[in-house]
Amino acid sequence: MADYKFNPTLKVDDITVTYNNGHTAIHDASFELEAGTICALVGVNGSGKSTLFKSIMGFIKPIKGAVTLSGMAVNAALKLNIVSYVPQAEDVDWNFPVLVEDVVMMGRYGHMNFLRIPNKKDKAMVAEALEKVGMTEFSQRQIGELSGGQKKRVFLARSIAQEGQIILLDEPFTGVDVKTELAIMELLKEMRDEGRLMLVATHNLGSIPDFCDHTVLLNRTVLAAGATADVFTPKNLEKTFGGVLRHFTLGGDDLHDDDDARSLSVITDDERPLVIYGKETKKSKHATSDKDEEA
């Protein structure tokens, strides 16, 4: 229903961010994303994920390089309300006296005049967003009264109401049951099909191939970026996580009695593990042939 004036793109061009205390959180990081993308941002704690988010939101200015949103400088893009942010659950004060509806309405503030008085369209957009995430019946609840998954959906609804085109999600799956996780993924895919761009910081390695078409691996700099099928490999992940990741490999001999040489790798960051079952030797090198054509 909304006409999108801006083709959402994100370009991180060779940025280096150094804090006032002299700590360099990210250096020489570059990657580029197009409209209609869900991109996973993967890295250990302290790898610069939140610094990257803060640079994209204009909280901190890189000392070198630049972030460009839809071809504009960050501050210009923020004025147009195209960036929205879905916070990590632990960053929200759940005792704050606001109703579900109030939080979603905050997404409309950027579209209102300076007194922030909602008009009919704002109210309709809020109702629509709540409907979309299935939270209509909870609209009058204080936010602390919700379950983990419901809490996430409120903030997703807020970015839908905001009509954000570039959406940053910080750990959207922590504290969420499997059913809600799937529902959120479906929602994100839907939003991708509407042409939005989503950058998802997540430790949930196992679900990344299910819904993220792109992946950026981060460890103080961008180690690899591109299509998930190309980037999300055990080798790259090992490089990203170093020794932090739990990595189990069951060799072919442990798994089979026949001469099948495939091995089973389980890689986990203490959330849903990534399970890689080696390719059957009989088949072509890439088991997922449709992805092959894109590459």
Partner: protein, 292 residues
């Protein structure tokens, strides 16, 4: 009956009651934010550390607002400096600085007991303030009130979710500074009504009380403002009969309201909580009658 209306026959009483009510209302508005952010003690520190400035201003005959502002600034600079140069925790630094400043204030007062009345600064004396001071108070309260009317939603978003506020183009740094400027100004103004020792009450209790009654910030602010203004009104009014205990009466009235709400609030009160537990346990024992 005529006796009860007596205070309103005096011009000075009308002014004092009006000023106290107005500043009480604005402090209550600010308290809605302060208690949510866990910043209540910053208000306490602020009110104590402006005492030497007020004392100095009276000694040299300058406007007390100026003196208060200057010493408040000095105190925050000192806190910032110690924090940057040491690993001491914030509460220790706040405690250290504000007692030092308060002590300095008391010392200055004792040097020159004729020009400054320690009782007025520490305990407040709304019935005895000059017309200029009343004017300053009303001016501060008026400006703060208008600014809050225009910015209350933006400040709320900033304090609730700073990242989001930033992404919708709100200047969060500016609003935070604005908030603390209003807070300092109102603390200084309220010094005249309730005194340095009790200002903290005005900027914490109404908001804390309203928090137990409301689930929405806008409502909370309105309820808090009503509590703040009504208690300040009656505090100033009653002190006409009791002579000079305005601050104590206002804060006691606020405490009384808080206690009532604490027990009887419909959703978050102690009695409501007990009732809910009882209902839940009955439901467990006897699911047939209680089910939906």
């Amino acid at each position: 009956m005529e006796d009860l209306l007596l205070p309103f026959q005096y011009d000075y009483m009308n002014k004092a009651i009006f000023a106290a009510t107005f500043i009480g209302a604005v402090c209550a508005m600010l308290s809605s934010y302060l208690m949510l952010k866990g910043w209540s003690l910053i208000g306490d520190a602020l009110s104590h550390s402006i005492v030497p400035g007020v004392a100095a201003a009276y000694m040299i005959g300058a406007p007390y607002v100026l003196g208060a502002f200057f010493s408040g600034l000095l105190a925050s600079a000192a806190m910032g400096f110690i924090k940057a140069k040491s690993n001491l925790r914030e509460d220790a630094i706040i405690g250290l600085i504000f007692t030092s400043f308060f002590a300095l204030g008391l010392f200055m007062v004792s040097l020159s007991p004729t020009s400054v009345n320690v009782k007025n600064i520490v305990l407040g004396n709304i019935l005895g303030v000059s017309d200029e001071d009343i004017f300053q108070m009303v001016l501060i309260a008026g400006i703060s009130f208008v600014v809050l009317i225009f910015t209350w939603k933006d400040i709320m978003v900033t304090f609730f979710d700073e990242n989001h506020a930033r992404t919708i183009g709100i200047n969060t740094k500016f609003l935070t500074i604005l908030f603390f400027t209003l807070l300092s100004a109102c603390t200084i103004a309220a010094l005249q009504t309730v005194g340095a020792l009790l200002v903290i009450g005005l900027i914490v209790t109404p908001g804390a009380t309203a928090y137990l009654l409301c689930d929405r910030f806008g409502q909370l602010m309105i309820v808090s403002t009503i509590i703040g203004s009504v208690t300040s009104f009656f505090g100033a009014y009653i002190s006409f009969f009791l002579d000079g205990a305005t601050g104590g009466i206002i804060i006691l009235l606020q405490t009384l309201v808080f206690i009532i709400v604490f027990f009887f609030a419909p959703k978050y009160g102690l009695i409501a909580a007990k009732r809910k537990i009882k209902q839940a346990s009955e439901l467990l024992r006897n699911p047939a009658n209680g089910g939906q």
